[in-house]
Amino acid sequence: MSTTTTVNTRWWSGGKSPFNVEYGKLMMWYFLMSDAFTFGAFLIAYGTTRFSATSWPDPNKVFSSYPLMPEGSHAPLVFVSIMTFILILSSVTMVLAVQAGKEMKKNLVVLNLILTIIGGLAFLSCQAWEWTHLHHEGAWWGMNPFMNADGTQSTTGFTNFFFTITGFHGFHVFSGVVINIVMLIMTLNNVFEKRGHYLMIEKAGLYWHFVDLVWVFVFTCFYLI
């Protein structure tokens, strides 16, 4: 894709896209910007609340289990690392799907879309397990069974923020999976072959990478720092 800008290329004179991308792709970028500010606002609200608290539950004590863990053991960061790698790998398969689309290789697009969908569903399953496990320990919106790190009484803000932000993110993962399934069906029905391009997959790819990007921020803010 060459972007030679000679003196006579007037990007804003009409007839072509000033950003050299199609309309739908530019609009997806604008939507992602708005979503970035929404997630940013949530995370900054969480940061402000945490900064205004004298103490806060220690994430390594709260989030320290995984499915089928033996009784009494304590494994911080393990399960969330697995979730992070699942989402990163699903992003990679999405990149491969977009690349296969550029090369008009329909079967490779189908394969990589299926892998991306499986990755998304695996992530959602892990998140659902994490939520169920915490709920069984007594955590929910308005209910916080965990003490602060220094032994003082904690607030329900801890669980409220956790469930709201991971829930909002999980909702985005879910809608991303739905979009990817629609993309898969369209690919299988030769919609893109007939159009002669797979640009729609590229737009779905932008959304999916955004979902992965948000997880990078959410996971760091809640589990690491």
């Binding site: 950003f19 032994g151 990478h209 720092i225």
Partner: protein, 135 residues
């Protein structure tokens, strides 16, 4: 606007693999720092490690947005359209963390009831249900 050239497609695959490895390594370093931090008591050291984790996180964001979302290969005006508004975040985060810290200091100075409550060690209770707001 298609990468139909065979050699170019090979290069693209190499770039994807390279970025995947970089992202994985950055994640592993972040997790290693997280594990290391569990054994550290010093507040200053913990803060430094957290700072490093944040920088690694921003590096991951750069790679995901630049290569997976292809922004690095787009026209300069589009890159600026995305990056410049995100600079607002720098002030957004600074202002609100400062605000939160100020709120804590003011409350601990002027609200003895809340200060005492937030510094009293309690026995572990069953659950903390949301209490009626006294305000």
């Amino acid at each position: 606007m298609e990468h139909s050239h065979a050699a170019h497609s090979g290069n693209v695959k190499k770039e994807i693999i390279k970025v995947t490895i970089i992202l994985s390594v950055l994640t592993i370093i972040e997790l290693a720092l997280g594990f290391w931090m569990m054994g550290i008591e010093s507040h200053g050291t913990r803060l430094t490690i957290k700072g490093v984790i944040v920088i690694l996180m921003l590096a991951k964001a750069f790679y995901i947005v630049g290569y997976f979302m292809h922004l690095k290969h787009e026209i300069h005006n589009l890159i600026m359209t995305i990056v410049v508004p995100l600079a607002l975040f720098i002030w957004f985060i600074t202002a609100f963390l400062y605000e939160g810290n100020s709120y804590k200091n003011l409350r601990n100075t002027y609200d003895p009831y809340k200060k005492e409550r937030s510094h009293t060690v309690v026995e572990k209770k069953e659950t903390v249900k949301e209490e009626k707001k006294a305000e």
